[in-house]
Symmetry: C2
Subunit: 455 residues, 2 copies
């Protein structure tokens, strides 16, 4: 038994010659002219398929094989033949083609283009399309690349809890976790929710191990249906002791570049596919990112840029641009799509529009935050240096009306606290960024959004 | 800036000489004799600490430094000095010791032994004890090792959903996910729960990519407080197309051996610590596991072994041992602790005590299941070949009263289904197994169990 990926790897190292092989996979297409037929067989080991050639004179069930439908599972014995003159470097001359799993005639994935909306309704079959064969390998490789980066840099991976009694953002919009008991909060004895962020829970580990991260599912019960929001999504959240906001940005930039470089190296076929069918500039954009230095600009500077743009005729829907406003998506996109045409950090936002745990700057008005804005997405990463002064943090919590029991979080400022900083990468948005797929529902195995759940 | 891990790595490669260093970390102990003092500084980069020597004549704030308490955060400038005659290979002769973060006098982690129960109450400070510095690095390395194994073997990592409309085990005991809306199921429009397993959701991906896995949090709302059960825990669930139960066991065994070998290589200090303080035979046991071939025995054979043991005088609490019973924990432990004194696979259980999705064997009575039993834990892994015959699966679902909407799951048997198999490793139990820590609450960052939630 071998697989397509192994054969391509052997081809590359020059150790491949014609030889007997057995492959297993699924039929993408099957056509024949009465004496010779061609099956495009996908085994999922690689983006590429294998062409299986079957001839009436060489297999004893030609009249069965020529009826095997798209979606059938097959086992194929045959000879691998190098075909240096064809588009594909090799093909398999079948000696035996065995039907392992038939496919019913009503198979929804016939060979044609399907809309993303249609495919979302059949999430259990959707992985089999070319887009999804490419996408889910990229999703897997991107995850691995991020783990690898943080592992190589001696970060400890912490599994922060999904069910929590705290709410990091203090923003509401949480899902509650209950049982069918008459008191819904019977199980834990108090209200419990799905986490919106692992940050608060990972900070104690940063103050032990120095460098840590959490990477897992997070949740928002927002009753909106945008292309960039999901009820359930994965978030990567590193946290570093003895680190300020500048050091924070260094790690954001390095980790994303590392992950993108990993994709360019390990998934060239997939990136080419997305470049061809989803976003013509994708490969160029990713290659440029790896080479470039991400610009850094304060919020105050960003407001000036936006005001100048407005003065020069750019129309914004939210047109009251002045210091203190929360940047709207259109503003963020202007900054990274028009002003720099590439990723940009915006730092030092007004304290009133940012979370309570961000460190107050010496000006008393701004906090040491850093958002990474990228074209097509807007905010991809949000980070900050954390408020490490007990009294300042306590006062900010009071000012912002944080009424959770966070004594334990305050404790960290009392017992050997240090300057520390961290950030959160919305993993699904990063995946949109590296594939050009425009809707978050189409980069998740089973998207969860307001108004629907199947599976 | 450097860290303890880097210095030990440089020592090993022989590139370390006396040199100026800056370290940052936390005080574990601080003692002095009036003219010279010793700080044991932990920076979390490694299990080992660094000894900082400070002398009255060499630093200008001796009388402050000698009061720095356990738990304080420090920055230390000094000279690294090789000390081949001492227990530790080097130490730092301080030239400057700066207090970065003071510690209040009521710091709960004074230098003494604390009970696990006490430490669970202060989960935000608990990481700082020796046990937890060892544990959470092992937890991180074990996770990485498993990702690495499956990545190297070309498995695709799939993020199966946490919120689900299905219930893999059909066993009840699920947490529901609601919002504060007057109709608690308003958000999704129907009842939604926290996943008990990603298996059903990952199977569609196996039937595309061939080899896949999911690795994430899973949940059980069981109102029991045992040392081996938690309300929230991580599970690793691989799934492979074109694979039977024997092939399944090959992968279980190979992946666990790989992960254990990774720990022996990357965490020798931590494994030695657990061997010294938690389980004297730990290192030997882990080394033996890597070398051994795990025995395989059918359920029917296991029943005979237990009956013989009983006949020979072994007392069991559940003493009605006959074909058809579900094995109790004591039975499982007899098999792996007394009978083999090592891990053992038990296969081919009666169909009535196993889940509906397991493949019915030709005998019509048993299913192609495989449980891996290990000393001290009992069931560590549960796996099976999946029922791939549409009609048989449909009938088993009816027999076992599975009333979920699983048409999509049945579809997989209709559209290019193949023999396939998979398994689930309870990650937290695996961590107990490789550390000798006896309670699942003590291997999780923030344990979730019946009756309590803090944090």
């Amino acid at each position: 038994m071998t697989d397509v990926k192994t054969l391509y790897a052997q081809l590359k190292t020059g150790e491949l010659t014609s030889k007997k092989v057995t492959l297993q996979g699924w039929v993408k297409t099957n056509r024949n002219n009465g004496t010779v037929g061609f099956i495009e067989l996908s085994d999922g080991s690689a983006f590429k398929s294998m062409q299986i050639v079957y001839e009436k004179t060489k297999i004893n069930n030609f009249s069965e094989v020529d009826k095997f439908r798209t979606g059938s599972a097959l086992r194929v014995h045959g000879e691998l033949v190098l075909t240096p003159d064809l588009k594909q470097p090799f093909e398999v001359q079948a000696t035996e083609v065995i039907l392992v799993g038939d496919v019913a005639e009503d198979y929804p994935l016939q060979k044609k283009r399907h809309t993303p909306e249609f495919l979302r309704e059949i999430a259990h079959l959707r992985p089999r399309t070319n887009t999804n064969i490419a996408l889910f390998r990229v999703r897997s490789e991107l995850t691995f690349a991020l783990h690898k980066y943080f592992h190589e840099n001696n970060f400890i991976y912490v599994h922060t809890p999904i069910i929590t009694a705290n709410d990091a953002e203090g923003a509401g919009n949480v899902f509650d976790v209950v049982t069918e008991h008459k008191n819904p909060h019977h199980f834990f004895g108090k209200k419990a929710s799905l986490t919106v962020s692992g940050q608060l829970h990972v900070e104690p580990f940063a103050l032990t191990f120095g460098k840590v991260y959490t990477f897992g599912p997070t949740f928002r019960a927002e009753e909106s249906n945008t292309t960039r929001h999901a009820a359930e999504f994965w978030m990567l959240e590193p946290e570093m002791a003895f680190t300020d906001n500048a050091g924070n940005m260094d790690v954001i930039e390095a980790s994303i570049k590392y992950a993108v470089q990993h994709l360019l190296t390990t998934c060239p076929d997939e990136i080419n596919f997305f470049t061809q069918f989803y976003e013509k500039t994708l490969r160029t954009r990713l290659e440029a990112l790896v080479q470039s230095k991400v610009l850094r600009m304060t919020y105050t500077e960003a407001i000036k840029v936006l005001q100048e743009a407005q003065a020069n005729g750019t129309k914004f829907q939210f047109n009251k641009i002045e210091w203190g406003i929360d940047l709207a998506s259109e503003h963020e996109r202007y900054l990274c799509e028009v002003y720099t045409n590439g990723p940009i950090f915006v730092t030092d936002y007004p304290k009133d529009i940012k979370a309570f745990y961000m460190r107050l700057n010496d000006d008393g008005k701004t906090v040491a935050a850093c958002d990474l804005l990228v074209p097509g997405i807007g905010e991809l990463v949000g980070g900050s240096q954390r408020e490490d002064r007990y009294d300042v943090l306590k006062q900010k919590m009071a000012e912002q009306g944080v009424d959770q029991d966070l004594d334990w979080y305050l404790d960290l400022r009392k017992y050997g606290g240090t300057p520390h900083a961290g950030f959160g990468i919305g993993f699904d948005r990063l995946l949109m960024y590296v594939t050009g797929i425009a809707n978050i529902r189409d980069v998740q195995p089973y998207a969860r959004a307001y108004g629907s759940i199947k599976y």
